[in-house]
């Protein structure tokens, strides 16, 4: 099964730069790049005030549900999900086969403007992902650092008081 490419520092820097640029132009609060499986790849903005891990998982779920609805009504072009709120609004846009861009912005900001600026960001992210995909994956992460000989369980149950 094809999956998100391996990202190196250069990729992450480029993705962060694209997100930062979007936040400034669109005056948005938070921008996230999310894997379609629900993982958070990169984030920028006032994310301290939001639980971005959960935001990423729910946005991916919501987008996946919308895609299935599109399939049911024979529509192939549901490329975004928009939720309008009273304080904040959210838009989730399709980037490529593997990733999504989610943007949280103040409700008084026009979604049209956010979409307009996000269009360029989506292209930039997709280009960087393609670059990462093409790169020779010669420097794999050294997982041998994980000491599995250690019999301690990965998760431990709290001792009851």
């Amino acid at each position: 099964m094809p999956s998100l490419p391996q990202l190196i520092e250069e990729d992450v820097q480029e993705l962060n730069r694209a997100l930062q640029d979007l936040l400034v132009k669109a005056e948005a609060s938070v921008a996230l790049i999310i894997d379609k499986g629900g993982f958070l790849i990169s984030q920028c903005g006032e994310h301290i005030s939001f639980d971005t891990t959960t935001l990423a998982a729910l946005s991916a779920g919501s987008f996946a549900a919308t895609q299935s609805i599109a399939g049911i009504v024979s529509e192939t072009n549901f490329t975004s999900v928009y939720q309008q709120g009273e304080s904040y609004s959210l838009i989730v846009l399709n980037v490529d086969e593997f990733s999504l861009l989610a943007i949280v912005f103040k409700a008084h900001i026009s979604v049209g403007a956010v979409k307009y600026f996000a269009h360029g960001t989506v292209k930039e992210i997709a280009t960087q992902m393609k670059k990462a995909q093409k790169r020779e994956p010669n420097s794999v992460l050294d997982l041998s650092m994980l000491n599995l000989a250690d019999p301690a369980p990965v998760f431990r149950k709290k001792k009851s008081a």
Binding site: M1, S3, L4, Q6, L7, I8, E9, D11, V12, Q13, D35, K36, G37, G38, F39, L40, I41, D51, T53, T54, A57, L58, G61, A64, A65, S68, P137, S139, V140, L141, D142, L143, S144, M145, L146, N147, L148, D150, A152, P153, V154, F155, R156, K157, K158
Partner: protein
């Protein structure tokens, strides 16, 4: 598939709890959430997208960071699927990007047919994602052992653990948190072993 971020040395893994309706998938996550020992801030909130009668509608989601893996940020994302037959599309969506599976079976005799059907449904749904149980690590949990009318473990193994490669199976009473951590630790260890062997193969 798991995200390995080389820039931040972060590993993110998705584990899905699958099984028949009312088998105890959500209870497993609730118990992990309530009892897991974590460094402060490493346990996320348990999010349940459930109906008013507490039946899972879309999924439950629990992000946790592992304790014992030094030098690595290893984040596990635990999901459940809705067990009810009508929610099959939802189950397919939740399976997207899955790395490991826990199949939670209901040990009561009269639930055996549902267990077998749910397991077959899992295989079918993996097929739609071009995956199979030969590629995705999984473990079995025989839940509700505290109830009086349970089937013997050997019988459940015969029904559910009869593939070419026998996988680890655990008895559990998830509502008492028995067998919950044993199951979770086994699937995470199998997964980490798989990542290491995949990584070594790529590096070779």
């Amino acid at each position: 598939m798991a995200i390995i971020n080389q820039a931040t040395k972060e590993l993110q893994v998705k584990i899905v709890y699958y099984g028949p309706a009312l088998g105890g998938k959500t209870t497993n996550l609730v118990q992990v959430h309530d009892h897991v020992q974590t460094a402060q801030g490493n346990k996320g909130k348990l999010v349940s997208l459930a109906t008013s009668s507490d039946r899972t509608l879309f999924f439950d989601f629990l992000p946790i960071e592992a304790l014992a893996i030094k030098g690595f940020k290893t984040k596990f994302q635990l999901y459940t699927v809705p067990g009810q037959v009508i929610y099959n599309t939802t189950r397919q969506l939740v399976l997207r990007g899955v790395d490991g599976l826990v199949f939670v079976a209901d040990s009561q005799y009269d639930k055996m047919e549902e267990n077998v059907k749910s397991f077959a449904n899992l295989e079918e749904n993996l097929k739609t994602l071009n995956l199979s149980l030969n590629d995705i690590p999984y473990v079995l949990q025989y839940n509700k052992r505290d109830l009086p009318n349970v089937a013997p473990v050997e019988y459940m193994d015969f029904l559910l653990n009869n593939r070419e490669v026998e996988v680890p199976s655990f008895t559990a009473s998830a509502n008492k948190c028995e067998g919950v951590f044993e199951t979770l630790n086994m699937i995470t260890r199998i997964l980490l072993h798989k990542f290491i062997s995949d990584s070594n193969r790529k590096a070779a």
